[in-house]
């Protein structure tokens, strides 16, 4: 019996044979192993240096402004104050318990303890119901995008698995200034190694929102209703 797969491929090939491809078709990238992503295509991202270790203050300012536009609380602090500031912000928002991914760092854990916030680890993994009992989550991120005010998580050890930053109602994200890129293309370029390594990505632009009832914007439907961002410079 002919399988659906074979039938579909046969039909696609027959359909494509009826006319030459409209635009000159470049050879498709031939990725066989992760880590060798095709780089011959859209170079926008690379045009602006990806290895920018210098921090452009205008970019950080734009990020803070655009991220704030979505209703997130954004604060900029010197790196050495980031942990205390994060703990203070959480306490200000009435958060008493958070889940803290393994790689979040001792400084933050100490600051949380100082502020009287209970931090729960994720080993062994918490159930969704257990996560639902916690007030908040603290994570780092992989990349942030100034133009769109977006945080991108690749769920490495300092960010935890996807459910952590989803179920609790308050998400505090720590951003290092050098993680902020100007626009989407540079972000996509910087994220390629994460994707090649098989990591999932979550792009977050403000708290969860909907306009489904009479186009009235309502913050917070299913994801965290409060988004707090600490930019460490």
């Amino acid at each position: 019996m002919i399988t659906a797969r074979d039938a579909i491929f046969a039909q696609i090939k027959a359909a494509l044979a009826t006319a030459p491809p409209a635009p000159p078709a470049a050879a498709p990238s031939s990725l066989t192993s992760p880590g060798s992503l095709d780089t011959t295509e859209w170079r926008d991202g690379e045009a602006t240096s990806t290895a920018s270790s210098t921090v452009d203050d205008a970019v950080v300012t734009l990020f803070a402004e655009r991220c704030g536009d979505y209703g997130a609380a954004v604060v900029r602090v010197p790196s050495r104050d980031a942990a205390t500031e994060a703990a203070r912000l959480l306490a200000d928002h009435g958060v008493e318990s958070v889940v803290a991914p393994e790689g979040i760092g001792a400084a933050l854990l100490a600051a949380l303890a100082n502020a009287g916030i209970r931090a729960v680890g994720d080993t062994p993994p918490l159930s969704a119901a257990e996560l639902d009992q916690l007030d908040g989550v603290v994570t780092a991120c992989r990349v942030a995008i100034a133009e769109t005010g977006t945080l991108v998580l690749d769920h490495a050890a300092d960010q935890g698995r996807r459910a952590l930053s989803l179920v609790p109602d308050t998400h505090l994200c720590l951003v290092r200034a050098e993680q902020i890129v100007a626009a989407v293309p540079q972000a996509v370029t910087r994220l390629r190694p994460s994707v090649a390594a098989g990591r999932p990505l979550t792009w977050v632009s403000g708290p969860s929102a909907t306009v489904d009832i009479e186009l009235t914007r309502v913050e917070g439907v299913h994801g965290p209703r409060t988004l707090l961002v600490v930019v460490a410079e």
Binding site: A4, R5, A7, I8, F9, Q11, I12, K13, L16, T18, A19, P21, A22, A25, P28, S29, L31, L37, D38, E41, W42, D44, G45, Y70, P125, A128, I145, E147, T148, G149, H155, R161, R162, L166, V167, V184, V188, T189, R192, V195, A196, G198, P200, L201, T202, W203, S205, G206, S208, T210, V211, D212, I213, E214, L215, V218, G220, V221, H222, G223
Partner: protein, 477 residues
């Protein structure tokens, strides 16, 4: 999606008689349209982005088999199981069997045009599986036993009081009831939906999603959303089934730099949508351990087989063309009798379903050919050209019909008349006699049946007092 749906003009008349719907639609479409224009204006390279998006999609379309094979291999490497479906029935039975294999009797769903197109929810219900839509608007539509009126804000035809009534009456029947003191404040309504659905998310064993993009080189699926219900469905269940059209494949991950700039701005008029999830198969210790991707061909192969129709496969379902369409703005989505309304709908639906029903034959005419849609489409689909093409196909189909069509007869008559100069001269003279007798002023109408089918929506200009030939002869004398 039923074949007995009335043709567009009839359905439109019914929708137009509803002032609440017209007011809601006007507000929705004009608000989103204005936001979209603002976000487009922010981007200095908007036209270059559109050109890049069209080129990437065309490249994919012209080598679809290559990229699909690549995507299949990458997905398999990443631990996903890939399934293929030729049509809606096959897709539905694949998905049903996958759900049954888990033993689950309910699934949580994130809004997907394709699962609506194939009627997946009905198929699941027939198999005794309860599908729960989790998008707020889809929840309103589902609880209200209704159909979506807009692809982006599907419940735009409901006002807050109606939503409150629906939640109070229906939520308790399928899960956690709405609080009895529920107000009609959208914040309260959203909170009720959050509580109602959270219970479902936390216990769900199976999630079903669509996919906005599928990256061939990495097998990465992308879901773009606002509320976080998508993240819930994609992350919490053990089993995830994604139903994806074969035209959603994109060659490389880097291509997303183009589409992630175009889609949110074109769709909701935001710089970026609140949440986008990207995942490649199974991630050990994070999210579903049982990941399936069902690739559906459906009517897409019919579009692929006609080179002139191929650009419609570029569509990223942003709904910009709808919000800008003067017909859609007045009538809304219901009159189109398809999950795809508006300019792209009247092109896609007859292409996918064929031209066998009066409804599908009427769709390409639900258009003024103003071309506003072509200007906003982020992937530069030449919508007016494709619409004219569908009209041509309708005309050809009518000519081939055994039943004589008035329009075909009229065209044949006109052809006969125009073929000889003297026939045209005679007709011109005869008309001018009528014109003089009537004292030609303004317009004629309404005419008796069968001509009423023309005149009930249009004016027929009154015949002139003299024909062009007569006027010319007099002028040159």
């Amino acid at each position: 999606m039923s074949a007995i749906a009335p043709p567009f003009p009839e359905a439109a008349r019914k929708q137009l008689a509803n002032p609440q719907l017209r007011a809601n639609l006007r507000r929705a479409t004009s608000t989103i349209k204005a936001k979209r224009a603002l976000r487009q204006a922010e981007m200095a390279d908007w036209e270059e982005l559109r050109a890049a998006a069209a080129a990437i999609k065309d490249r994919m379309i012209s080598q679809m088999d290559v990229y699909l094979e690549q995507a299949e291999a990458a997905l398999t490497r990443a631990g996903a199981q890939v399934h293929w479906a030729r049509d809606a029935d096959e897709a539905n039975s694949v998905v049903t069997a996958l759900v049954q294999a888990t033993g689950a009797t309910e699934v949580v769903k994130v809004k997907s045009m394709l699962t609506q197109e194939i009627g997946l929810n009905d198929a699941l219900r027939r198999a005794g599986i309860a599908p729960f839509e989790t998008d707020l608007a889809e929840l309103i539509v589902q609880l209200g036993h209704d159909t979506p009126s807009h692809i982006l804000v599907p419940a735009i035809h409901r006002n807050r009081a109606e939503v409150r009534e629906i939640f109070l009456a229906e939520m308790g029947l399928v899960g956690r009831p709405a609080p009895p003191d529920l107000s009609s404040d959208p914040n309260d309504l959203a909170a009720a939906a959050r509580a109602h659905l959270r219970e479902k998310f936390l216990r769900a064993k199976v999630g079903i999603s669509g996919g906005n993009f599928l990256i061939a080189e990495t097998g990465t699926l992308v879901v773009v959303e606002s509320e976080g219900n998508g993240r819930m469905c994609l992350t919490l269940p053990e089993t995830l089934i994604s139903v994806v059209g074969i035209e959603k494949v994109l060659p490389t991950f880097q291509d997303l730099e183009v589409f992630m700039q175009l889609l949110p701005r074109s769709s909701t008029g935001e710089r970026m949508n609140p949440y986008t999830s990207m995942w490649s198969g199974v991630t050990p210790g994070d999210g579903p351990s049982n990941v399936h991707v069902v690739l559906v061909a459906g009517g897409r192969l019919k579009a692929l087989a006609e080179p002139a129709a191929r650009p419609m496969l570029r569509c990223i379902r942003c709904s910009a063309c709808m919000n800008t369409c003067p017909v859609y703005q007045k009538v809304g989505g219901h009159a189109y009798g398809s999950v795809y309304p508006g300019p792209i709908g009247i092109v896609l639906t007859p292409q996918f379903r064929g031209l066998d029903t009066p409804l599908d034959r009427s769709l390409p005419f639900a258009c003024t050919l103003c071309a506003a849609c072509a200007d906003v489409c982020p992937v530069k689909i030449p919508l007016p050209d494709l619409i004219v093409r569908q009209r041509h196909k309708v005309a050809v189909a009518k000519t081939a019909d055994l039943r004589p069509h008035l329009e075909v007869l009229a065209m044949a008559g006109a052809g006969w008349l125009f073929r000889r100069g003297w026939r045209l001269a005679l007709a011109g003279w005869a008309l001018s006699v009528v014109g003089r007798l009537r004292g030609a002023r303004g317009a004629i109408g309404p005419l008796p049946w069968p001509m009423s089918r023309w005149t009930r929506a249009r004016d027929l200009p009154a015949p002139p007092r003299q024909s062009f030939r007569a006027w010319w002869r007099r002028g040159s004398r």
